[in-house]
């Protein structure tokens, strides 16, 4: 029994009104997980579509709106990690190796937000998904551990390391006078 509102958006003129509602309610979440993880719009859209199609195939086992959200986060996270691992390049670029931004990127990064987004996208994949689930979705470490089948302490340790890495890399943006004075 899926407890969802039955108000369908104008786009959803189908025989699947309830699935349609779930799609409308969660599309931004799924797409954003993929986008913030992969930093590739086309790949993010493809993953998001595949996740919803899988939801459609598994629809009978869904029990509630909350279950759907849990399921979507889990499958989206795993798909993103799988894509990165399967990618031909295989190269994991550590934060230390990220080149300084180009002039165009510096203009685009005028907001710290864009810069932070980019830095998150360059974290090691495990830390990256943890940061996305924690700060995009506002999930607690215990929930994240359930979604990713990880130990809670590992989640906390990895999150802490990820934040340290991000802080170190963004320090010069938060305090530009520090870099000017050297």
């Amino acid at each position: 029994m899926v407890a969802l509102t039955t108000s369908a958006s104008a786009q959803c003129e189908t025989s699947l009104p309830v699935f349609c509602d779930a799609l409308e309610a969660n599309k931004a979440m799924v797409y954003s997980i993929a986008w913030h993880f992969l930093r590739d719009r086309a790949a993010a859209e493809e993953i998001a579509q595949d996740v919803f199609l899988e939801l459609h195939r598994s629809w009978r086992s869904m029990q509630s709106a909350q279950h759907i959200m849990f399921w979507l986060r889990k499958v989206a996270s795993r798909r993103c990690i799988d894509v990165v691992r399967r990618r031909k390049a295989h190269r994991e670029t550590g934060l230390e190796e990220i080149a300084e931004p180009t002039a165009l990127e510096r203009v685009q990064d005028t907001l710290l937000s864009s810069y932070l987004e980019r830095m998150v996208g360059s974290l090691p994949e495990k830390q990256r998904i943890l940061v996305v689930l924690r700060y995009q979705e506002g999930m607690e470490p215990e929930e994240i551990a359930r979604i990713l089948d990880m130990n809670v302490n590992t989640v906390k340790t990895q999150l802490s390391r990820a934040l340290d890495l991000l802080r170190a890399k963004t320090a010069h943006r938060l305090h530009p006078e520090w870099s000017e004075s050297t």
Binding site: F19, K27, M29, Y31, L53, V131, V132, Y135
Partner: protein
């Protein structure tokens, strides 16, 4: 939450997918449904004639078992490959680190 974490939260605000995203998903979902429906129709229309039932059942069993074995093998193979890549990555990293440490010492001694 610290202010840095607040900034991170702002940076990771959800984004809307492209405008026709939902429509594309629904189209694919409908296609998926009709493929399944046609498959079932075919099966229910033909497979349940008495002569064909044991044949179909046997084919499904044999085919299913072979597919399962192949799927298992592929799963094991992929898992073994991932483990191997992890092992090579760790071995390479540790050797690199040791090399770095040795070079630092050599560099330090040359400069003395």
């Amino acid at each position: 939450m610290t202010s840095f974490e607040d900034q991170l939260r702002q940076a990771l605000t959800r984004k809307e997918p492209p405008p026709n995203f939902a429509a594309r998903v629904m189209e694919r979902a409908k296609r998926q449904e009709s493929v399944l429906a046609v498959g079932w129709q075919w099966l229910s229309g033909r497979a349940w004639t008495p002569r064909l039932v044991p044949v179909m059942a046997a084919l499904l069993l044999v085919g299913g078992a072979a597919f399962y074995r192949e799927h298992q093998r592929a799963t094991e193979g992929e898992a073994a490959k991932e483990k191997l890549l992890v092992a090579v990555r760790i071995a390479g990293s540790k050797l690199q680190k040791t090399q770095q440490q040795v070079m630092k010492i050599q560099f330090g001694r040359v400069n003395q």
